[in-house]
């Protein structure tokens, strides 16, 4: 039972490796998912705090893409100087819980927790994010869609740390958008949300990456819709958002809304996200 605050990655990885026989070590970052999951009872184990590991925090340009460190908070994202393709991720960051939650909660924590309602996932999927997993055994990279494997399930092995997320090169002029539908203004879990990244040419969609969250066990890219949107202007694009093109979703009924409502809300949220991006560009 100890609280580990390594400052080097090696030390952090060492703490996780070869623990199979001992009591498991729990990784903690912002703690905003960890504590609610733990409940009121005192924790009885070892905690590995990854927030002070050198190089784990912050967003930086690497090569042709971007790197989001594994302990980067939502507030860090909000304050980072990023191209318009990240606008969706920034909008999501603004809507994660509250300022308090954004100051502590991390992007990596959000994807590791793998809630179907994780607000970070749709914008990250639309950015084609990749997840870097590091252990004493080595480093591997997975695309985000392969990393999150189900409701609260990921491909992370017990000895791995999410050291970073990578966003591959973005086409010039790519713009992001995000729409969250929830029951109140702040501190609210999404009923449904949409993250999108578009590139436009002459007011028409050249490429579209549209992701819907909270309407399936894991947020999903809407491939059929993305293809159908190519070449559309705003009016056409709105029309092309049809339930048939969203058939991959499987919305459920729960306390936050009925399946039917979710289905409709998704259509509307996609339309609003498209409008947000396309009008935003028109107005420069």
């Amino acid at each position: 039972m100890s609280y580990l605050t390594p400052t080097t990655l090696d030390a952090a990885l060492g703490a996780l490796s070869g623990r199979d026989t001992e009591a498991p070590v729990s990784v903690i970052a912002g703690g905003t998912d960890w504590f609610p999951a733990q409940g009121e009872r005192a924790y009885n184990g070892t905690l590995l705090d990854v927030t002070r590991v050198e190089g784990m925090r912050g967003v930086s340009a690497v090569g042709t893409g971007w790197r989001i460190g594994g302990a980067t908070t939502w507030s860090d994202i909000l304050h980072a100087d990023l191209p318009p393709a990240f606008d969706g991720l920034k909008l999501a960051a603004r809507e994660v819980g509250s300022v308090q939650i954004q100051n502590a909660g991390t992007v990596a924590g959000n994807i590791c927790n793998a809630s179907p309602a994780a607000d970070g996932v749709p914008p990250l999927l639309s950015l084609d994010a990749e997840v870097e997993l590091t252990s004493t055994r080595g480093v591997r990279r997975l695309v985000l869609a392969e990393f999150i494997t189900g409701v609260r399930k990921t491909a992370r092995a017990a000895d791995e740390i999410v050291t970073a997320l990578y966003i591959p090169a973005l086409s010039a002029g790519a713009r992001g958008g995000f729409t969250k539908i929830g029951g109140r203004k702040y501190l609210v879990i999404s009923v449904a949300m949409v993250g999108a990244v578009l590139t436009l040419s002459g007011g028409r969609i050249a490429t579209a990456r549209i992701t819907v969250g909270s309407a399936s066990p894991v947020a999903l890219r809407m491939g059929d819709l993305e293809n159908a949107l190519v070449g559309a202007d705003l009016a056409e694009a709105l029309e092309r958002v049809t339930p048939e093109r969203l058939a991959a979703l499987s919305p459920i009924s729960d306390i936050r809304g009925s399946a039917e409502f979710r289905g409709e809300a998704v259509v509307e949220a996609i339309r609003r996200t498209l409008t947000q991006i396309m009008k935003g560009q028109a107005h420069g």
């Binding site: 030390a11 504590f35 029951g183 109140r184 203004k185 879990i189 306390i255």
Partner: protein
């Protein structure tokens, strides 16, 4: 060396001073601050990030201290309100501004609000409203409706220019207990237990209905981490509590069957650390789940099992009021509207969970906890413990919100039993989940209503049937059943009326008192049916209401005739300018927007102050000591509504000295006479009258000493009492008078009990000595595609008879509207599913629009200086005003609260919207 070593000893700076704590691995920063460093200004409302009460600054950034391991703070700077309030320039400004705007009511959210605001002001010295909302969006407040908080933060930069009001009756005086709240010094239920007190944990049923047996309690009690176990066999008196004679039916500990999820079957007492590690699943109890009745239709079905064997048909009780011939009137009406309405369980969601501590002192039991009703707590404990009332002292703490639920006991019997059994100080604080599972709720209602009118718009008849899900035990269910039929007409003149209510048992948590006792539910049905009726008549809804508004001299549906003081017409008329303006603005908006529409809705309301046709006394005591100290024994619980201020303002006026001359004591059952419970909008009216009488009586004694006339002026100056009568000054030498056992040379104890008369079998009689009146106007925007309703503004007209403190009136109105808004749009407690503040949504600072309060003063003959009660009136018209705005915008009638986007969208589609 790497820091990858066990770090049990953690050092950081707390409010600029270095501190070290030896904490558990992963101990919450909030716990370390409160329990190890004494920072009780860090409040705990949920332990889950949902309420923000625990907000502190870590290296300047606001975070939830409940979600940060204390070890993560190592080497960093932690700031809390108590530290900031001493010298931080932004906090000093906020302190002034919060008090000036009365941004703190109960004060439990205030540390979180102010700490968040400090962070904002450091970055943005003069923020706008939207910036304040974004910065404070993570802190919930259940009392204020947020607008005063926004005003206080927006205005903080100009705090040194604020003029402090005088304190006399009628002035917008600052709350007299406000400074402690904005400095983080106010102490609530979980802030007062002595270090080392044992902790009491409750073992609760995970099932709504189950039989159970205990395993080997003896060997469990012998565990080293367990000091004592309590079960029903430890209850030496009556194993039952309740609030209404004849309905004392809820066991402290269930004996062999539980009737709701969260019901207590036992307590475990142990050292604090042991109890934090304790897993309730280890407790030896074997459950046998049984079928549960969770809804009224299930409970009413023929052959349904009985929740209580002696309550046939699962009907606990009912209420009935009738006058004239309602059926004939409806048959003869030109236009009739009917409808079936449904509302949901609403959780009080005060930010302070139930908490307190108890100990035995010289054979007497002391219980200090948050409560709305000290006298009733003492009575309940006397009965449960089989003790003499005189041997029990109830010493309330500051109360972090109550709204009705803290009238019933919660932690008190457990604490009392544990203190008596162990002989040691014991403490407990409900977790948020426990609080939500086990304490009372607003009754879900199922209402059928029919209203008829003549072609000219005159109301002719109304019938009402309401079934209320009263849950597993009685609590205040009988009060709801009685109140609703008296109020279901609204404040209108209706001569043919029949209203019936039933309180129906289910295996849900007990429904009890919640601001309005069932009237907010009935008002939704009645006030929205009125708009449909007006529409069918081709009349404007405001004109329709004005035409039918009750006037002085007209009988209510109970046959009660007020010769004065009926204020509904004045309230409705006061809305007229805002109404006309809003109508125009909405028309313009709607012409320009296709997918969002705006509408204007109006609703009226009334509410009888005090108990329904039952005695309802308050007693207030005051005395003068030989040294000239004027002491007021004030036992009316201030749960944020302001009785610590209002009662003193009234007493000061009655006695005839400034507020500053008065020393206030209480509440404490050892020294304050019973001022009754803080409920039924009765404290300003009933305790206020007792304070007025006590002030007048004591004044009369002083004047008699000086042989002075009624109009004489009394001054208290450094222990000298002077009476100036027609320019003649008399010094009254108090020291020559003999002091009584309490040290008073002059003393007055006065009781006020409102004049009422019983209701007959048709509900005819005098249920209340006074009613207060209200009308709300809401402009709401409806998103046709997403079904989302967004209130844009409220104008609230309230007839309060006499505003003893207009600032407190506004605070009540705004806070009430926020609760009405929550009930209308988002709040739905579902046992087993929304038992936390993550899934149970209450309005945040971004959800409550600007509110304009119009205060009307139609004096009441019985009220102190004409004042009427207000605490519950404030949310009665809110939900129907919102629904009527939606009807105005869309012609869609909402009949299910809360009108969540999914429900609204379904209703829109049914009405043909695509």
């Amino acid at each position: 060396m790497d820091k990858a070593a066990a770090t049990h000893l953690t050092g950081f700076t707390l409010n600029n001073a270095p501190v070290q704590v030896e904490a558990r691995v992963g101990e919450r920063l909030s716990q370390a601050l409160r329990d190890r460093l004494g920072a009780k200004d860090v409040k705990i409302g949920c332990n889950a990030g949902d309420c923000g009460a625990c907000t502190v600054l870590v290296d300047g950034a606001p975070v939830c201290a409940c979600l940060m391991p204390v070890q993560q703070a190592a080497g960093r700077s932690v700031e809390t309100l108590a530290g900031l309030a001493k010298a931080d320039p932004d906090a000093l400004r906020l302190k002034e501004s919060f008090q000036h705007h009365q941004a703190a009511q109960c004060g439990i959210c205030t540390p979180g609000m102010m700490v968040s605001a400090v962070a904002l002001l450091r970055a943005v010295p003069e923020p706008d409203v939207a910036q304040v909302q974004d910065a404070l969006g993570g802190v919930l407040c259940r009392c204020t409706g947020y607008r005063k908080i926004i005003d206080a933060v927006v205005g903080a930069h100009a705090a040194d220019t604020l003029q402090e009001s005088t304190q006399e009756l009628g002035a917008p005086a600052r709350r007299f207990d406000g400074l402690a709240k904005v400095e983080g010094r106010d102490l609530f239920g979980d802030d007062v237990a002595p270090d080392g007190a044992l902790v009491v944990r409750v073992i609760r049923s995970p099932y709504p209905h189950a039989r159970f047996t205990f395993g080997d309690l003896g060997s469990f009690e012998a565990r080293p981490d367990v000091v004592a176990v309590l079960t029903a066999t430890d209850v030496k008196g009556l194993n039952a509590f309740g609030v209404i004679p004849g309905f004392i039916d809820q066991p402290v500990f269930a004996v062999d069957t539980v009737l709701f999820r969260g019901e207590a079957v036992a307590c475990v007492v142990g050292e604090a650390d042991a109890m934090l590690a304790f897993d309730p699943a280890d407790f030896p109890v074997i459950w046998e789940p049984l079928d549960a009745l969770m809804t009224v239709p299930e409970a009413l079905q023929g052959g349904a099992p009985l929740v209580h064997a002696d309550r046939p048909g699962n009907i606990m009780c009912g209420g009935f009021v009738a006058c004239g011939d309602a059926d004939a009137a409806l048959a003869g009406a030109d236009v009739v509207v009917d409808g079936f309405y449904e509302t949901s369980f609403v959780e009080h969601a005060y930010i302070e969970p139930e908490a307190g501590w108890a100990e035995v002192v010289d054979g007497r039991l002391h219980v200090q906890a948050c409560t709305q009703a000290t006298g009733m707590d003492r009575e309940t404990l006397a009965q449960v413990l089989g003790m003499d009332r005189a041997d029990i002292r109830i010493l309330p703490t500051a109360v972090g919100g109550g709204f009705g639920s803290k009238i019933d006991v919660s932690v008190q019997p457990f604490l009392a039993l544990a203190a008596l059994k162990t002989g040691k100080p014991v403490r407990m604080c409900y977790t948020r989940v426990e609080s939500m599972q086990s304490t009372t709720k607003r009754h879900p209602a199922r209402i059928d209503i029919r209203v008829g009118a003549k072609a000219d718009g005159t109301l002719t008849g109304l019938t009402f049937h309401g079934d209320f899900n009263t849950g597993s035990y009685a609590s205040w269910g009988p009060t709801v059943a009685n109140r609703v039929p008296v109020h279901a007409s609204g404040p209108y003149f209706i001569r043919n009326y029949r209203a019936q209510s039933r309180a129906v048992h289910t295996h849900c948590p007990p429904s009890g008192a919640f601001r309005g006792f069932g009237v907010p539910q009935s008002a939704i049905a009645q006030e929205t049916a009125f708009d449909v009726l007006a529409d069918k008549l081709g009349m404007d809804p405001l004109e329709f209401r004005l035409k039918n508004a009750l006037h002085d001299g007209q009988p209510t549906v109970c046959g009660q005739v007020f010769e004065q003081g009926v204020g509904i017409q004045a309230c409705l008329e006061a809305l007229k300018p805002a109404y006309d303006q809003a109508k125009q603005a909405c028309a313009t908006f709607n012409a320009e927007n296709a997918d969002v529409k705006r509408g204007v809705g109006i609703a009226g309301g009334w509410y009888g102050c005090g108990n329904t046709s039952l005695p309802n006394p308050s007693t207030i005591k005051a005395g003068l000591r030989a040294d000239g100290t004027l002491v007021l024994h004030q036992g009316a619980m201030d749960i944020g509504q302001g009785s610590n201020t209002v009662i003193v303002q009234i007493f000061a006026r009655a006695f005839g000295v400034p507020v500053a001359d008065i020393t206030v004591l209480g509440a404490d059952t050892d020294i304050t006479p019973d001022a009754g419970k803080t409920s039924a909008s009765r404290q300003t009216f009933v305790s206020g009258n007792a304070a007025r009488l006590a002030g007048q009586a004591l004044r009369a004694q002083v004047l008699q000493q000086a042989n002075a006339s009624d109009t004489a002026e009394i001054t208290l100056n450094g222990g000298h009492l002077h009476v100036v009568d027609a320019d003649l000054a008399h010094a009254v030498d108090l020291s020559r008078l003999e002091a009584d056992a309490e040290g008073y040379v002059l003393k007055a104890v006065e009781t006020y009990d409102p004049p009422i008369a019983p209701l007959d079998e048709n509900g005819q009689g005098i249920p209340y000595a006074q009613f207060g009146y209200a009308a709300h106007l809401c402009v709401a925007e409806i998103d046709l595609k997403l079904g989302r309703i967004t209130p844009v503004s409220f104008t609230a007209a309230h007839d309060v008879g006499r505003a003893i403190n207009p600032l407190l009136v506004e605070g009540q109105v705004q806070g009430g509207i926020a609760q009405g808004l929550g009930m209308a749009l988002m709040e739905e407690f579902i046992p087993g599913r929304t038992e936390n503040l993550h899934d149970y949504l209450i309005p945040t600072i971004g959800d409550v629009p600007p509110i304009e309060t119009l205060i009307l003063e139609i004096e009441d003959a019985h009220g102190p200086y004409g004042a009427k009660g207000l605490g519950e009136h404030v949310l009665i018209p809110t939900a129907p005003a919102i629904f009527n705005a939606v009807y105005d915008a869309t012609k869609v009638r909402l009949m299910h609260a809360p009108a969540t986007p999914a429900r609204v969208r379904a209703a829109l589609k049914e009405a043909g919207y695509v």
